[in-house]
């Protein structure tokens, strides 16, 4: 009896010590956790593209900030949706993070109801947004127009787009708001480079693209100028470029469409699967904030993405709100908007 009691006491003591040590280890371990264990950043597009390049630049600074390693893994397919589905199912252990472009694979995909979506964009844990770039309308160097007013005088304008997506939505809204006669959207281009080349050749007259892609195309002389910016305020990169709301009186329906298009701006969120613990969320948000402020990071980003700065900045909380608002748009409004896009694109 005595032996059993001693054994029991000993067990309780050992368990208590073990649990208290665990508690202590847990409190100190988040930073150590990331120092010891590599983090995988799942990029939902292929290697070499803009999103992948930005991810690799972040990965190169990760070690300076955390002392640990970040591995890039490309999970591509279905316009980024495969990667998003993977992230939704991933374990929320803090070691798997995701990085995507919201206009195509997140908001755009959900909004345009791309088949195969198995994630709920509202449930991801958003850690940082490293670029928020509104879309705009750029025009071909072969066009005699220089402004949206000049475009209104031309009949049969052709806008280029990859597919019936957020890009096409921007173009469709432009046609609607400014009453561009017999304008249409030519879909099927393989990406912004193909569209840029088509613009330079004069195959298409205009397109919608993110502002930083357009600066690249202006440099390559694919785009003559940017005539519109789809946002709620002017951009410091193109201070002379007006907003649609400055040039036209929008109908209530057009205002709603404008809100939708503005929310489909190109943002690149870094996120974790649903259920990530609070302490890891805080640590990661802090880490990415440090990365974005690091000199090395900004120097490397400037090369590929010369439009840098906080013209349009969103905190993770603000981004979550944007997602919530975008996905709460009533079904009828969403369908009406998609029908407008399809009217010009198909």
């Amino acid at each position: 009896m005595k032996r059993i009691a001693c054994a029991l006491c000993f067990s309780v003591l050992v368990t208590a010590i073990f649990l208290s040590v665990q508690g202590k280890v847990a409190a100190e371990s988040v930073a150590d956790f990331y120092k010891k264990k590599p983090v995988t950043l799942v990029v939902t597009y292929g290697p070499g593209g803009g999103t992948d390049t930005a991810a690799r630049i972040m990965a190169s600074e990760w070690r300076n900030v955390t002392g640990g390693r970040m591995i890039i893994r490309n999970i591509t397919g279905a316009g980024g949706i495969r990667g998003m589905n993977h992230m939704f199912r991933a374990k929320p252990d803090g070691r798997t993070l995701g990085y995507t472009d919201s206009a195509s694979s997140l908001l755009g995909a959900v909004f345009f109801e791309t088949p195969g979506i198995q994630f709920d964009a509202r449930k991801f844990v958003y850690l940082a947004i490293n670029a928020v770039v509104p879309n705009g309308i750029g025009i071909s160097p072969r066009l005699s127009a220089n402004s949206i007013q000049d475009l209104q005088k031309i009949e049969g304008l052709k806008f280029g787009s990859h597919a019936v997506d957020s890009q096409a939505a921007c173009s469709a809204l432009t046609i609607e708001i400014f009453g561009l006669k017999n304008a249409r959207i030519v879909t099927g281009f393989g990406g912004m480079e193909e569209e840029g080349l088509a613009l330079a050749r004069g195959e298409i007259d205009a397109y919608s693209n993110s502002m930083h892609s357009m600066t690249d195309h202006i440099d390559k002389k694919f785009v003559k100028r940017v005539v519109l910016v789809y946002s709620d305020k002017r951009s410091s990169w193109f201070p002379d470029t007006p907003l649609p709301t400055e040039l036209a009186e929008l109908t209530p329906e057009q205002k709603r469409m404008f809100t939708i298009v503005a929310s489909l701006k190109s943002a690149k969120p870094i996120f974790a699967p649903p259920g990530l613990s609070r302490d890891k969320t805080d640590f990661l948000r802090d880490a990415f904030s440090k990365i974005f402020n690091a000199k090395g990071y900004n120097e490397k980003m400037k090369v590929r993405f010369p439009i840098m700065g906080s013209d349009f900045y969103l905190s993770p909380a603000e981004w979550s709100k944007t997602v919530e608002e975008a996905l709460s748009i009533p079904r009828t409004e969403r369908d009406a908007f998609i029908n407008v896009v399809k009217k010009y694109a198909m």
Binding site: I71, I72, R73, K91, M346
Partner: protein
């Protein structure tokens, strides 16, 4: 009029393209259905001509339903294909259920041993192929190999 095995293949092709043709008719937009309709129509037309040649055309001296390598379609050849095909299927099932780490050595050793290779050679080849695949995938390319339904997450 004797049906040759090539004729059955042509009938199967005709069946498939007819299905595609009628399935495509129901597609929503003309741009979506245009090419499937045209292509299935062309294949139907070509397969019908070829089927007609099989039934009614003159037999060309020396012509056989040869494979590209010239092998004739004998029962022994078919048996060989079926056995090898069964091994492929078995390997696939192993990969799906048990993942590459188990399937590669299991398949390699089993096949080699059952076809007369010595144990040590079979094990060596299995180890080398698994080692090479692992090296290329996880350390170098950062692609985790599939672990299978039984052992995966």
């Amino acid at each position: 009029m004797k049906m040759r095995s090539g004729s059955y293949l042509l009938l199967a092709i005709i069946g498939v393209v007819l299905f595609i043709f009628f399935y495509s008719l129901r597609m929503a937009h003309w741009k979506t259905k245009l090419l499937p309709l045209i292509l299935s129509g062309i294949i139907f037309f070509l397969a019908s001509i070829e089927l007609g040649k099989e039934f009614f055309g003159k037999k060309i001296v020396g012509e056989t339903q040869a494979s590209e390598a010239g092998a004739t379609d004998t029962a022994a050849t078919m048996r060989g294909y079926l056995i090898a095909g069964a091994w492929v299927l078995g390997f696939l099932l192993c990969i799906v259920f048990m993942g590459f780490f188990v399937a590669i050595p299991l398949f390699t050793i089993a096949y080699m041993k059952l076809h007369g290779t010595k144990w040590w050679l079979a094990i060596l080849f299995a180890a080398c192929s698994l080692g090479l695949m692992y090296l290329l995938s996880e350390p170098l390319a950062g692609i985790p190999l599939y672990r299978g339904i039984l052992f995966g997450e």
